[in-house]
């Protein structure tokens, strides 16, 4: 199609020039607002910079301090528990929800729409609303339990050290399950029904059908969903910020929230950057693997 020789190379050069020109705005945004801050986070974490004052280079001092700090060590443990438990429950509940919605039933479209609504609601609003549900004196939960004589006394959901983490995770699950259910349902609906019919004729039980047809067909979606959600769950500080501020006694403190408090509350930008970077290696592995997966999916 294209002319040969010098005219062809000119056409190619024009094409490249056009490409760079129309990609430039996106690239500038990504360079200045993602790539540069990312690199400078590393540099910042090696300084003792405070808000409004120039920092001094302190090497790995910030990291050293972190690993001697009890609050940080507790935070690290909490973050792992928080992420693993929340992702695990969201996965199981989301898969159940998808399987239920995949059954034949009247009004199923309406039910699907209703169950997926939490996903469109801003997380801040979800968290504020749940904080109000958990309220000691006037919240829905205590009122409900007392009105129906399920408990006699008020339960301090968010300030009880044994309950707080569970209560926060419940909210994370409420807000995050629809994402799983939607992804899984899309996957379920792509499985040809004939496969199940054939399996039934061969005498396969429901459980066998699930483990030999459903699970293998959904494997790709399982992995992608869990990886994406792990990154987002682990790094979302809004639930904790609004529900408990990390309390009581750091029981619900997770690393993005601690970084936020240290950087903006205590105004120690360098230390804040160090906290968010300590966990980056784990996330980085996920990000690299996911980038590869998504690129492959995009090219199919």
């Amino acid at each position: 199609m294209l002319p040969a020789g010098p005219r062809r190379s000119r056409a190619l050069r024009d094409e490249a020039r056009l490409a760079y020109a129309i990609l430039a705005p996106s690239l500038l945004v990504v360079l200045f607002l993602v790539a540069y801050p990312f690199v400078s986070a590393i540099y910042l974490s090696l300084q003792d910079k405070m808000v409004g004052s120039p920092g001094r280079f302190v090497g790995l001092e910030n990291y050293g301090e972190l690993f001697r700090d009890e609050v940080f060590l507790r935070t690290a443990w909490n973050s792992v528990v928080y992420t693993v438990v929340a992702v695990g429950i969201k996965f199981v509940v989301g898969l159940t929800m998808a399987l239920v919605l995949d059954q034949e039933r009247r009004w199923n479209n309406l039910f699907r729409t209703l169950l997926f609504v939490p996903w469109a609601v801003p997380v801040v609003i979800v968290s504020l609303n749940w904080r109000w549900i958990y309220d000691d004196l006037s919240g829905f939960l205590n009122n409900f339990l007392i009105t129906f004589h399920i408990t006699r006394d008020i339960v301090s959901w968010l300030s009880n050290p044994h309950l707080a983490m569970g209560c926060v995770i419940a909210v994370v699950v409420w807000a995050g399950t629809p994402f799983y259910a939607m992804s899984f349902l899309a996957g379920l609906q792509a499985i040809p029904k004939e496969l199940y019919e054939a399996a039934e004729v061969d005498g396969a039980s429901v459980l066998q059908q699930f483990s030999f047809i459903t699970v293998p067909r959904l494997k790709t979606i399982f992995v992608t969903t869990v990886m994406l959600s792990t990154i987002w769950t682990a790094t979302n500080l809004q639930f904790v910020l609004i529900l408990t501020k990390g309390g009581p006694a750091s029981r619900t403190e997770i690393f993005p929230h601690l970084a936020y408090q240290i950087a903006l509350g205590a105004r120690r930008l360098g230390m804040g950057a160090a906290i968010s970077l300590v966990f980056f290696p784990v996330l980085a592995i996920l990000i690299v693997l996911l980038t590869r997966r998504l690129l492959r999916q995009g090219e199919e």
Binding site: L33, F38, V121, W232, A263
Partner: protein, 280 residues
């Protein structure tokens, strides 16, 4: 054969019971939010609190509009979300077209870089970004906030559109190019009309992400004049006292735009979602 029909029936009823549980679990918080906004303060607080309002009224909403900067927050959120959406659509289409159709050095690297930057969490970036934004004088500005929102909407939108543009048959475009159509008008006249579903997902995604965003809005904005609704809501807490009535009223109203858009676009969104469209 009888046992098969029995298993079916058991499954069907387990499914129905679970469905009811899921519906209650999902809808009760919305009920509580709405009902709180319709109560008088006396009914909201203390042991007199009720599960069903005795005299539903719009008092909280009246206070919200008369005594708080709620309307200002709504206007700011709308301006920022609409600009983010418009810019993501235009720049996303241009970038995706370049990556899908034009040959140039660095193409693969850029595609990879875009996905990578979409996945880098804001929780890692907000601290250094604070310094960048201060240096560029973008703190407390609506365009500054729009710009940071583009840093996560653009990579995703570009990538989503890239996948879609690639699936548009090359022949359609080549015919137009041979007829003397320029690259840009081929994009506008041939590719975009076929890609409407993808554009819908992109619009949905950018609008809701910008509308719902909290962290950056909280860190990069202090002034009431620029504040968005998500961060404005948290200001209904004064010295640990929550004004739950107006706050839940505001929460109800602020939930409407993203939910409405979700209802309109849900047909296409589910497809886009499997590509990792929305954070959850």
């Amino acid at each position: 054969m009888r046992s098969v029909t029995r298993t079916r029936r058991v499954l069907k009823w387990t499914g129905n019971v679970l469905l009811v549980v899921f519906l209650v679990w999902t809808l009760v918080p919305f009920y509580w939010m709405l009902v709180t906004s319709l109560k008088k303060d006396k009914e909201i607080y203390g042991f007199e609190a009720t599960l069903v309002p005795r005299q539903p009224n719009l008092d909280a909403y009246r206070r919200l509009f008369a005594q708080t900067p709620f309307v200002k927050y709504l206007v700011n959120s709308t301006i920022i979300a609409v600009s983010t959406t418009a810019a993501s659509l235009v720049l996303g289409c241009l970038g995706a077209y370049a990556l899908a159709r034009l040959r140039f050095p660095g193409r693969r690297l850029i595609a990879r870089g875009l996905i990578f930057s979409y996945l880098v969490p804001p929780a890692l970036l907000f601290i250094p970004l604070f310094t960048v934004m201060s240096t560029l004088n973008l703190i407390d500005t609506r365009h500054g906030l729009t710009l940071v929102y583009l840093s996560f909407t653009l990579p995703f939108c570009t990538w989503l559109l890239l996948g879609y543009f690639r699936s548009v048959p090359l022949e359609l475009e080549e015919a137009a190019l041979v007829d003397g159509c320029s690259r840009m008008s081929a994009l506008v006249r041939i590719i975009l009309p076929i890609s409407l579903p993808a554009l819908a997902v992109v619009a949905f995604f950018s609008f809701t992400q910008a509308w719902n965003e909290f962290l950056y809005a909280n860190v990069f904005v202090n002034s009431v004049d620029v504040r968005t609704i998500t961060t404005g809501l948290t200001l209904f807490v004064v010295e640990d006292v929550f004004f739950w009535g107006p706050m839940m009223g505001a929460a109800c109203l602020a939930t409407i735009p993203p939910v409405l858009i979700y209802l309109i676009f849900q047909r296409w969104v589910v497809k886009g979602l499997t590509l990792g469209a929305v954070k959850g």
